[in-house]
Symmetry: C2
Subunit: 335 residues, 2 copies
Amino acid sequence: MPVTIRDVARKLNLSVTTVSRALDGYDDVAEETRQRVIAAALEMEYVPNRAARQLRRQRADTIGYVLPAHEPRFADPFFSEFVAGLGDEAGSSNVDLLISTASPNEEEEQLVYQRWVHGHKVDGFVLNHMRLRDWRVIYLDRKEVPFVSLERTLDPVEYACIEVDGFGAVRELVLRLVEMGHRRIAFVCGPPHLVIQADRYAGYRDGLRSAGIMPTLELIAESDLTHQGGYHAAQQLLSISDPPSAILCINDLTAFGVYQAVRERGLQPNRDICIAGFDGLEITRWSHPELITIDQPVYDIARQLVKMLLMSLNESDKPYSRVMIKPKIMMPGCC
Amino acid sequence: MPVTIRDVARKLNLSVTTVSRALDGYDDVAEETRQRVIAAALEMEYVPNRAARQLRRQRADTIGYVLPAHEPRFADPFFSEFVAGLGDEAGSSNVDLLISTASPNEEEEQLVYQRWVHGHKVDGFVLNHMRLRDWRVIYLDRKEVPFVSLERTLDPVEYACIEVDGFGAVRELVLRLVEMGHRRIAFVCGPPHLVIQADRYAGYRDGLRSAGIMPTLELIAESDLTHQGGYHAAQQLLSISDPPSAILCINDLTAFGVYQAVRERGLQPNRDICIAGFDGLEITRWSHPELITIDQPVYDIARQLVKMLLMSLNESDKPYSRVMIKPKIMMPGCC
DNA sequence: TTGTAGGCGTTATCAA
DNA sequence: TTGATAACGCCTACAA
């Protein structure tokens, strides 16, 4: 039998109204009364029932994040850093974080969003891994559910987001590699409908062109953001007649797959062949030789996204902010 | 203006009762009526309001997990695999997963549990990283909130849990190493109050003793489960006059830190010195040379824990199950 | 087989 | 400065 606001009121010989207002910090309650209420609440371990409050206030004090789990057992540490950021910021803002996993674009994914939206489980969403055209953006906009995202889609909808300049960073990395003498630079792609793929790949092509190098199809490998995918892509790239001297990857995980394929050929990463990822995951710093990567502050981005979401929750009239982040190229001792 | 059960009832000229019962699958509603209701609900995109339902039913259909984040930016992929398992199983059982991060044993951690318990945010908890004496066990037991855990504490409380036989696995690994000729086998510890530390360390000592080797203090290094901690511990172990030929670690993350320290001394892991971790994380398979580890099925354990929790939620009279899992020693080509 | 009505615990409106 | 009261949306005992 949990303690309710009525129990507290009864004990103090006050009305529930007064107790409620005292605890919520309204200023039309006598200071002495407030102190008594607070003391009693603490002593009785009273905490407002969230369901009742939510029903009354029509908000959940909860934000939602649906993890795009391509495989049943997803393994990209990107998400653990991202979720950590969401969790920490949510916690310190006193809202809860609701998490689910779902395969992108599957019916399953839609069900999760629908359940949470219609069931009023969450007040807003954090999105990432955006697709160029993203039904989530359209859907949430139509339902008037606030959301923020990492990466911006092409959908004609206004919303707050953080963008990472993958285009510029990859472009610069390509130019640096060319300066170091590389001419055969390959790129391992992610799924074509993803914003990060379009963005980073465009940077790759633009870098090559700026250096006067013609992008060639045999140096482009399709992949799927996984270690496994990177491994297979590299096998393909390494078996052509004039193999690349550098391989850029859509993300760090893919790059580690490339590492493995390279080693199996008896080559040494970053001595015989240059390999670069994208994300700047913590584990890249433990790899040997240390992976070249483009470091985006995943944890901080996640925290910032939560801040932005809470802001748009509280002041819905504010204009949508759009933040652009320049990631940092990490080239620890390189070939 | 979200659609409520009343809207559906009005549209069909039925009472809310009938609609409610039809949707919940009661058998005292005419089949034809049920079909009409279901069709209308689908068309109107009606989903029951969770807060209202929760208030009425007195349960949240949500389970909670508090991530023990020692650092602000925790980085152990163990947790991403664990959370993935929780999320997947929760999702397929149609309950939600509430997540927060908190430093163990801090006041902050207690606050999270209290908020969720008193606020009725969750119906039960999944715990891991148990301490030998764990206030969470005592607290939840006292509050009569169901929970399950990975690893069992010494607290005199009955509860369902999964145990991994770290003792046996580490012991066997030690014996195998001795067979291979190792005599100087070191151990890098985790925090002493953790169950996994007590368990695995005991296995280490018992293995040595069974092989007729006297454990010696200079081969024991304190650490904290992190990469950084493993790195420092290894530096210490490698600088003694008669350094170890094998280093066992409390977990994989620590082992990777050891890798780094070993390499900085110009040594090659698993050729010049044997290094082993514990967890069997996905990334161990990408390391080079591949890390020796003790593989516990983290993802499946997490799913199983959720199942056990939901079971004890639904049938509170069932006896508590205790599952023991034998982890698997992974020694891919070793010195 | 269907409908009526009361209440889950809170907060907000309004009156005292 | 405080209190009575009415919702929020849903479920269910009970009545029809």
